[in-house]
């Protein structure tokens, strides 16, 4: 464990932050500009994982395992969300033969 900690601490904190921010931005931009619902889904996952990365990094540097516990929660919830979300997408595809979000305008009118 202490070995792992040491390895992790080889990389300075700001790199973790940068990677995490980059990942999060990629996720946000993907969500905003892609039209395929599955891609958007994956971008959401990227955003979640960028946060996970941050949590793990901070927990290592602060010697506090709470952050890692929280990561497990996030992963579990994300998995559940993916299951439900994909199921919905499948149903939508069966109905309108498309997963393009521009075609999903049933909320209006």
């Amino acid at each position: 464990m202490s070995l792992l900690l040491n390895i992790l601490q080889v990389v300075p904190m700001q790199y973790y932050l940068m990677v995490s921010a980059a990942l999060f931005s990629i996720g946000v931009l993907g969500v905003l500009f892609r039209r395929n619902a599955i891609t958007i889904f994956m971008c959401v996952e990227i955003m979640l994982n960028s946060i996970n990365l941050l949590l793990v990094a901070f927990s290592t540097y602060h010697n506090d395992s709470n952050g890692q516990v929280f990561v497990f929660f996030v992963m579990a919830v994300a998995a559940a969300e993916v299951a439900v979300g994909l199921a919905i997408l499948v149903t939508i595809f069966r109905n309108i033969r498309s997963v393009d979000i521009d075609d999903l305008k049933a909320l209006k009118n």
Partner: protein, 630 residues
Amino acid sequence: MTGLYILILSPLVGFLINGLLGKKLPKAVSGALSSVAILVPFFIALNFFLGFNSGTQVKIDQDVYQWISIGEFNIGFGLLLDQLSSLWLIIITGIGFLIHLYSVSYMHDDEAFSKFFAYLNLFVFFMLVLVLGNNLLITFIGWEGVGLCSYLLIGFWYKNGAYNDAANKAFIMNRIGDLGFLIGIFMIMFYFKTLHFGALKEALGSVHVSHGLIIAITMCLFIGVTGKSAQLPLYTWLPDAMAGPTPVSALIHAATMVTAGIYLISRTDFLFLQAPETMTVIAVIGAATALFAATIGVLQNDIKKVLAYSTVSQLGLMFLALGVGAFSTGVFHVLTHAFFKACLFLGAGSVIHALHGEQDIRNMGGLQKNMPITFLTFLISSIAIAGVPPFSGFFSKDEILAAVFEHNKVLWAVASLASLLTAFYMFRLVFLTFYGNFRGTEDQKHHLHESPWQITVPLTVLALFAAIAGVMGLPEIVSHHHWLKSFLSPVLTPNPHAGHAIGNSEEWMLIGIATTLALGAISYAFVKYISKKELPAAEGTLTGFSNLVYQKYKIDELYSFIIVQPLQRLSVTAYSLFDKVIVDGGVEGVAIAVMSIGKRVRTIQTGNIGYYLLMMVLGIASILAYVFLK
């Protein structure tokens, strides 16, 4: 006490049965039922009355149950039976029964027969509540109840719009007065902490209140009285109230309800005696009303209108008597007036019935041959109201005049003039209706007939009492015992302001003057309408002052001009300005604003998820920016 319960509840039971089951009952049953519902109380009332007279009956003043209880303040639902209320009970139930009997025949062809009797019974019930209440609130309940029944019965033939207007007028006019009454009650409640008549009388001695307050309270009560008893300036509803069926006019608008004001003042005489200023106002208003209404009566051509103005005038005389502190005299005139005026109204009803609804005396005449009983009873009552000795009206009117004479000579002159006019217009009515030749249509002439026994029996009984009721109060010069005065002495407060009794010679002089005036007026009417065979002027031919009097001094128009029309204009202005512009503008303005904002905002909702997400991200980013950069 049981007797009292039966007495007061019997008309209510009659009302409930007639009101709920009336349509299913045959007319004979319905009429008999409600008549019996008044006859039973009459015998009980008679029993009470005779008991009081012989001294065996004691005063009953008892709360049936505790009604309103607020802290220290209690109002019981209580009954009070004493000499004063027993007299009214006799009048209400006795004359009430005769009029019920009369109505059985009079209303026989009316489709709402049972409804009529239901209302009449309800009226009698409320009238009994009024005179039997032991505190002002119960009296007020009865007061409002009789007002309601009056309204219902004036507008009984509700399909006629004018009759409905008359009913509304009566109700609204009374409402003005009732407000005064109510304020008076509130003031008494606030300052004396009781509404019970007996307790109030005691409280008046112990609670210290200013003289001005007593004047204010009595004036408020008197305002209530002017409404109910048709005095200036609230009298105009009573002549219009003649729209109701004639028995109603006789019972409610001559014999009982309109005398409720006299009852109230006599009941609270201890209060009024503390306020001589109010008493003066009452006397002046009474005298003014007596003369004013009498002058109008002289020129009216509708047989019931003449009697209505006569009633207003006679009520004025009663208030004049009360105003000079002669309470028992006022009550005396209530009693005699109830007999002869009820008889006159019923007689008029009999005539109207025989002529199939004709009410204009210009189209009558010569009826004495065809309707001897109606004629005779009408004549007796007219002599009584004119004040010719030894008929009842003479004694009560003479007593009023004597009481006023020792108080104020001007008021006496006014009252004498009113009596003179009374004698004139009553005999004008008699001569035009019953003498000369018949002036109606051939068809009416063909059907002229005396009315059936249900009508003639009440007429006869009432005429009998109209003739002899004067023995209740023989003047001092004839008899040393004034029965009514001594009968009422346990109830009425002796007047501390009363002057010396007038001497014998003066009394004889007053009697002489009154009798001469009455006989003179009758002779003048005889010369005018029998010897010269004059007829009242046709519509629209009167000019000048007589036209003004014929138009009832245009008082209705005056009220319409100074009260009704400004009020209507105010309503119209308030409607168009306040309601239409401010209220509607405000409410609709809000709605319009919301709608137009909504119209613009709804374009944001594109339904495009990408757009929503962008907005969400921008929102979160701006919140973060705000949090970190502030």
